[in-house]
C-alpha cells in the first residue's frame, strides 16, 4: 500500500501554477483575469485542508514515500513525521492568508505574482518534506529563486537593489551548502539523513568541523544571524506586504529547519552550545538596538525579525528537550504574529500611501487594524494571555544554567516593547490636525481584514490554551528529534509572571519616552550605522566564516 500524500502536497501548487500560466494568453478581459486568482486560492487551500485531515495518521506513524519505488537507503524519500508536520501546517496557513491579503494589494503583474507565489509555496513544502540532503538543496533553491523574483515585484523605490543584494548573498549561501554536501558525501558515501546519523559520529573531528562550518554558513545566511544578516532588512522592507509576511514567517525558518535536521545527526563538537548562545544574544540585542533608529515601519518589523530569530536560536542552543520545545513553539508563534504585523503594516501603507510612521496620522479611522495590531504587539512583547508569553517562558525556563543570557533576553524584551509602542504612538495616537496630513478615509478592504482577524484569533488561541498545542503537536515533534521525553506544565494566570510582564512594559515605555525626546538625532545616527555597500557585506561574511572555523579548530 503506497502513501501518495507527500507527493500530492507538493504537486497541487505546481499544477495550479501551470494552469494559470497556460490560460494566460487566452484570458484577455479584466473579468476573466480574476479566474487566475481563484485558481491560485484553490491551489493553496487544498494542501491546508489535506494536512488537517492527515493529523490522526501522523500522530501514530510516519508517512514515508520513496520516489520511483526504489529501495530505502538509496532512494529519494519524502516523509511526514511529527517534526515536519508543525512546519507544514503553519506554512500552509500563513501562505493561504497572505495570498488572500495580496489580492487587493499588488498593483502590477497579478498573473506573474500568483504564478511565482505558488511556485515558492511548492518549494517550501518540498524543503519540509524531503529527507535527502540534495533534494533539500533542490527545493531550497526553488523557494529562494522565486523569492528573489517576488522581491522585485514590490513597488517601493529600493526593491531592485535590495533584490540584487539578496540574490548575491543567497547564492553564496547555496554554494556553501553544496560544498558541505560534497564533503559529507566524499567521506561517508551517503546522502539520506537517517542513514547519515549512524555514520557521522565515526568521522574524524577535523572533517566534522569543516562540514559543520560550511553547513552553518548556509544556514546562518538564510536564518539571518549576525554577521550574515545584512540582506534581510532591505529585502523584507521593499517587498510587497504579503510576500514580506511569508518571507519573514516561513522562509527565514527554513534555515532553522535544516539546522535542526542536520545538526542532530551526531556531530560531536565541543563548544557548540556556548557559541550558539552568544550568537543568539548578539542577534537579539543587535536587532533591537538597530530598530530604535528607524522611522520606516517595514524596516522596523524586519529588524524585529532578526531579534526574534536570535531568541529562537538561544532556545535551540542547549539541545535539551525543553529548549527545543520552546524554540519550536516560538517558531510557530513568530510565524503567526509576525505575519499579522506585516499584514497590518501593509493595510496601513495601502490606506495612507506612505511608509514613514511620522506621517501616518491614522487615529481611530481604521479600528480593525488598530485592534489586531495591539493584539500582535502584546503577543510579541510576551504579555500573559497571548501566545508570545508561553514560548518565551519555556525558553527562559531552559536557561537555568546561564543567568547572564537570561538577563540579556530580558533587555531584549524591553527593547521590543519600545519598538512596538513607538509604532503605536506615532501611527495611531499622535493625530496632528494642524499638520495638514490627511487621515485615511476608511478601513482597509474586506479581503485584507479577513486574514488579519483570523491570525489575531490564532494568536489568542495559541496563548490561552497552550496545553492543546503542546501535548498534541509540539512535544511529539521534539521527541522525534531529540530523545528524552519531557512534560511541561504551564499556568496561565500566575501573579509573578503578570507582575514581571507589566514591570517590563513599564521599563519599555520609559525607554520610549527617552527615544521620543531625542527624536531629532535619530536620522544622523542612522546614516552612520547602516552599511550601504554590497562588497563590504560579502567581505564581512567571509571574514566571519573564517573566524568561526578557527574558533572551533582552537576548541577541538
Amino acid at each position: 500500500m503506497i502513501d501518495y500524500e507527500p507527493v500530492l502536497i507538493i504537486i497541487t501548487p505546481v499544477i495550479a501554477a501551470s494552469i494559470i500560466s497556460f490560460l494566460s494568453p487566452f484570458l484577455k478581459t479584466e473579468r476573466t483575469k480574476k479566474i487566475q486568482k481563484y485558481i491560485a486560492i484553490i491551489g493553496l487551500s487544498l494542501p491546508f485542508f489535506y494536512l488537517i485531515l492527515l493529523y490522526p495518521t501522523v500522530s501514530i506513524k510516519t508517512i514515508q514515500y520513496n520516489m520511483g519505488g526504489w529501495a530505502t537507503p538509496y532512494a529519494i524519500t519524502l516523509i511526514i513525521d511529527p517534526f515536519n508536520y508543525t512546519f507544514l501546517i503553519i506554512s500552509s496557513l500563513i501562505t493561504l492568508l497572505a495570498f488572500i491579503f495580496s489580492m487587493k494589494d499588488v498593483k502590477k503583474a497579478k498573473a506573474k505574482f500568483s504564478f511565482f507565489f505558488l511556485l515558492m509555496v511548492a518549494g517550501i513544502y518540498g524543503v519540509f518534506l524531503s529527507v535527502d540532503l540534495f533534494n533539500i538543496y533542490v527545493f531550497f533553491e526553488l523557494c529562494v529563486i522565486t523569492s528573489y523574483i517576488l522581491v522585485t515585484l514590490g513597488d517601493q523605490k529600493g526593491s531592485l537593489k535590495a533584490a540584487f543584494t539578496y540574490l548575491i548573498l543567497g547564492s553564496i549561501a547555496s554554494l556553501f551548502f553544496l560544498l558541505g554536501i560534497g564533503l559529507l558525501y566524499f567521506n561517508t558515501g551517503a546522502l539520506n539523513i537517517f542513514h547519515l546519523s549512524t555514520l557521522v559520529s565515526k568521522l574524524d573531528v577535523t572533517i566534522q568541523l569543516a562540514v559543520f562550518t560550511f553547513l552553518f554558513g548556509a544556514v546562518a545566511v538564510k536564518a539571518a544571524l549576525p554577521p550574515f544578516h545584512t540582506w534581510l532588512v532591505d529585502a523584507h522592507s521593499t517587498a510587497p506586504s504579503a510576500v514580506s509576511a511569508v518571507l519573514s514567517g516561513i522562509t527565514v525558518k527554513i534555515g532553522l529547519y535544516i539546522f535542526l535536521r542536520v545538526f542532530t545527526m551526531g556531530f560531536q563538537l565541543q563548544g557548540m552550545t556556548e557559541f550558539l548562545l552568544i550568537l543568539g544574544v548578539v542577534a537579539a540585542l543587535g536587532g533591537v538596538i538597530f530598530a530604535l533608529f528607524e522611522w520606516d515601519i517595514k524596516r522596523l518589523l524586519a529588524y524585529s525579525t532578526i531579534s526574534q530569530m536570535g531568541y529562537i536560536v538561544v532556545g535551540l542552543a542547549t539541545f535539551s528537550a525543553i529548549g527545543v520545545a520552546g524554540g519550536l513553539y516560538h517558531i510557530i508563534n513568530h510565524a503567526v504574529f509576525k505575519g499579522l504585523l506585516f499584514l497590518c503594516a501593509g493595510a496601513m501603507i495601502y490606506r495612507t500611501g506612505t511608509k514613514d510612521i511620522r506621517k501616518h496620522n491614522i487615529g481611530t479611522t481604521m479600528p480593525v487594524t488598530l485592534i489586531t495590531f495591539i493584539i500582535a504587539a502584546f503577543s510579541i512583547a510576551g504579555v500573559t494571555p497571548f501566545n508570545g508569553s508561553v514560548s518565551k517562558s519555556i525558553i527562559e525556563a531552559s536557561l537555568s544554567n546561564h543567568p547572564l543570557v537570561w538577563f540579556f533576553l530580558l533587555l531584549t524584551c524591553i527593547g521590543t516593547i519600545t519598538i512596538f509602542s513607538k509604532i503605536l504612538y506615532y501611527s495611531f495616537l499622535k493625530t496632528a490636525i494642524h499638520n495638514k496630513i490627511k487621515q485615511p478615509s476608511q478601513e482597509a478592504p474586506f479581503s485584507m481584514q479577513l486574514p488579519m482577524v483570523v491570525l489575531a484569533f490564532f494568536c489568542i488561541i495559541l496563548g490561552a490554551f497552550p496545553h492543546i498545542w503542546l501535548d498534541n503537536i509540539i512535544l511529539p515533534a521534539t521527541s522525534s528529534i531529540i530523545g528524552g521525553y519531557t512534560t511541561i506544565q504551564i499556568k496561565i494566570f500566575e501573579p509573578m509572571t503578570i507582575l514581571k510582564d507589566w514591570l517590563l512594559i513599564g521599563f519599555g515605555l520609559l525607554l520610549l519616552k527617552i527615544v521620543i525626546s531625542r527624536a531629532q538625532y535619530i536620522d544622523k545616527i542612522r546614516k552612520r550605522i547602516v552599511l550601504p555597500n554590497l562588497n563590504i557585506k560579502v567581505v564581512m561574511m567571509m571574514f566571519a566564516l573564517t573566524l568561526i572555523l578557527s574558533l572551533f579548530k582552537f576548541l577541538n
Binding site: 499544477i15 497556460f22 520516489m67 519505488g69
Partner: protein
C-alpha cells in the same frame, strides 16, 4: 542592420543545428544528453535566428511560448500520473523515459527562448 556574413552562415548551419538538437533529445536515455541539453541547443538555434534577422519580430511569440511551457508542465505531470493508475509509485520505472525527455526538451526550449526575448526587449530601439 545585421551583417551579411551572419545571415549567410545562419542559412547554411540552421538545419544541422536543429537536427543535432533533436538527436540529443531523442537519444538521451542511451548516450550523454537528454531533455535539458537538447532543449538548450534548440534555444541556441532560436537565438541565432534572432541575431541574424533582427529583434523586431520576436515579441509576438511571447504568449505562445508561455502557454507551450505551461502545457509542458501539465503534460509531464500527466505522464507521471499514468504510473499512479497502475498503482505503482509516481514516476516509477515503466520505460517512460524517452517521452519525458521529449517533453522536457520542448519545455526548456520554450523557457530559454522566453528568457532571451525578455532580456532582448530592453534593446529594442523604441520603448
Amino acid at each position: 542592420m545585421t551583417s551579411k556574413i551572419v545571415q549567410t552562415t545562419t542559412t547554411i548551419i540552421l538545419p544541422f543545428l536543429l537536427l543535432f538538437g533533436v538527436y540529443v533529445i531523442i537519444f538521451g536515455h542511451i548516450s550523454p544528453g537528454g531533455g535539458f541539453q537538447g532543449g538548450m541547443i534548440l534555444a541556441g538555434a532560436a537565438m541565432l535566428i534572432a541575431l541574424a534577422y533582427g529583434f523586431d519580430k520576436l515579441p509576438r511569440f511571447m504568449s505562445h511560448l508561455q502557454s507551450l511551457e505551461a502545457g509542458g508542465v501539465l503534460l509531464f505531470i500527466f505522464v507521471g500520473s499514468i504510473t499512479v493508475l497502475v498503482w505503482l509509485p509516481f514516476l516509477a520505472d515503466l520505460h517512460i523515459l524517452p517521452i519525458l525527455n521529449i517533453i522536457v526538451g520542448i519545455k526548456v526550449f520554450a523557457g530559454v527562448a522566453l528568457i532571451y526575448i525578455f532580456i532582448a526587449r530592453w534593446e529594442l530601439p523604441h520603448d
